[in-house]
């Protein structure tokens, strides 16, 4: 149980403890030996040739872990994957990042990686949809597409030969994210799944689970049509801004956004992996119990979610057998 900074009463503490113990006992046997802490010996067959990967070291003829994490074995490679590490990008991952710099023909984005990721101007879809060479005018108007501190959704394209990370935002579903809130959680809680974009229809909300731990919850945007103007048309831009200033998100949608955001916060505090179904279930749990939006962040709801998750996994386990 991670150090929960919640004021728990005695009964709540016991209930939470019991829920976590149940969850631990339900985790599959194959993995039960896999988690190690620093200086634990890693069970390896020493006769086979094996490669010592990250997070391991040889000490007194034994293979010992140097970080706390989970042992992964791929062919002959044995390494320890740290749990609270920074995001480790893989090609094709969907990430959400914040623009930190507008440089020549590229934007630099912060994505909770050891370096800033790069989004080239040429990897962005131009608003008119035509594939054309980027002109000098495009370069000068980069700020009309994204400027500093904007939140952007993109896909990992590749690693450059110098180790830097390149992103692309070629299809309509990527791009600038507005009208919502950004949540930051640990990257290991977002597992790779089929889809990271979720349109929660009954709420009219977009939920984007970036694999780097940046989660976006916001109003649904139909088409990622331009915030960009091809020619610098300042009057048009200021009109868009004025419109934006007058129209706020409707209250009901805002309440739903808050509920989903709080559900993500609760699951992250408890250390449960996120996926859209789990988040929706948590939101439904809170509305069915008529819990006030802010009270979702209280100790009682945390305990309820933990208990519900333990129940759900034990039911799943029984169904499998």
């Amino acid at each position: 149980m991670r150090g929960l900074q919640l004021p728990l009463s005695q009964t709540q503490r016991t209930r939470l403890q019991r829920a976590f113990e149940k969850l631990q006992s339900l985790s599959s046997k194959a993995n039960s030996d896999a988690s190690v802490t620093v200086a634990d010996t890693i069970p390896v067959n020493y006769e086979d040739a094996f490669l010592k990967g990250h997070g391991t070291t040889e000490l007194n003829g034994e293979l010992v872990a140097t970080v706390c994490g989970v042992v992964e074995r791929i062919n002959k490679l044995v390494y320890v994957r740290g749990l609270r590490a920074r995001y480790k990008p893989e090609v094709g991952d969907i990430v959400v990042g914040r623009v930190v710099e507008v440089a020549q023909k590229r934007w630099r984005l912060e994505i909770n990686f050891s370096q800033d990721a790069i989004l080239m101007l040429s990897s962005m879809n131009m608003p008119d949809g035509i594939q054309r060479r980027r002109t000098a005018l495009d370069e000068l108007n980069m700020r009309s597409i994204f400027e500093e501190n904007d939140v952007v959704c993109a896909e990992v394209r590749n690693f450059q030969h110098d180790g830097s990370l390149q992103l692309q935002a070629r299809s309509q579903k990527y791009g600038k994210l507005e009208k919502g809130q950004l949540l930051i959680i640990d990257p290991y809680l977002v597992k790779k799944s089929k889809s990271h974009f979720h349109h929660l229809e009954q709420f009219g909300i977009d939920l984007i689970l970036g694999r780097n731990g940046f989660i976006w919850v916001g109003e649904h945007v139909e088409t990622r049509d331009s915030m960009v103007v091809d020619k610098p048309n300042s009057s048009e831009q200021s009109m868009v801004l004025e419109e934006r200033n007058q129209t706020h998100t409707p209250l009901e949608m805002r309440q739903n956004i808050c509920r989903v955001a709080n559900a993500v916060r609760v699951l992250s505090t408890l250390g449960f992996s996120m996926d859209a179904d789990l988040i929706m279930e948590t939101v439904e749990l809170s509305s069915s119990l008529k819990i006030d939006i802010h009270d979702m962040l209280g100790s009682e709801f945390h305990v309820l979610v933990a208990e519900r998750e333990a129940e759900r996994r034990s039911l799943m386990g029984k169904r499998r057998r």
Binding site: R98, K176, E178, H248, T249, L251, I293, H294, L297
Partner: protein, 234 residues
Amino acid sequence: MVGLSAGEKHFIQGGIAQDLRLDGRKRLTYQPIYVETGIIPQGRGSDELLTELSVALERCLLGGAGIDPTSLVVVEGKVCWDIYVDGLVISSDGNLLDALAAAIKAALRNTGIPKVDVAAEMAGDEQPEVNISDEEFLQFDTSGIPVIVTLKRVGKCYIVDATVEEESQMSSVVSISVNRKGHVCGLTKWGGWGGAGLDPCIILDMISVAKHVSEQLINKLDSETAAAEATEEE
């Protein structure tokens, strides 16, 4: 300070206007307060924020109605107790001043002043002999100590207990310290972070909001501190 995009800022402002902040709180709701007593912090830090905070704390807490100086007297005119207050900030997600003031109030309540026996009257300027007891302690009377309520004006409404994201768009911030009797002990207006000028009637309005909010805050703080002390004794 966290950078926010224009879209996010607009979203936050809309929320405050609709009385529903990012985590579901209302404008005048504080986040849950959790008090742990009996912990001695160690460490130091330096910041230009540090001087601003200490000045603001002094101003708000040392106003006449705050700490009662007569309780610190040992020998009238000669010997008295000095109180040093150190605040260690482990992490800050906004609203640092309020949290510090609340922590100081809780800490002072947990403070014991050793009982002092003064030797018989000495003549004139000589230092009287004092015998400081290691066993007996007098509780410090903290009922007069104020809490600080920092109000941020966003658009046309006020919010308390702002998070770091909300702090990035304060137009005017005023910290008001109010004690149990509802008296204002001190007032600080923050101008250094791009705060705009304030109409005087807005300040009066803020004072009345602060008085209203401080009542609940003082009660909550006292009950949490009492609960913490009770668990400490167990």
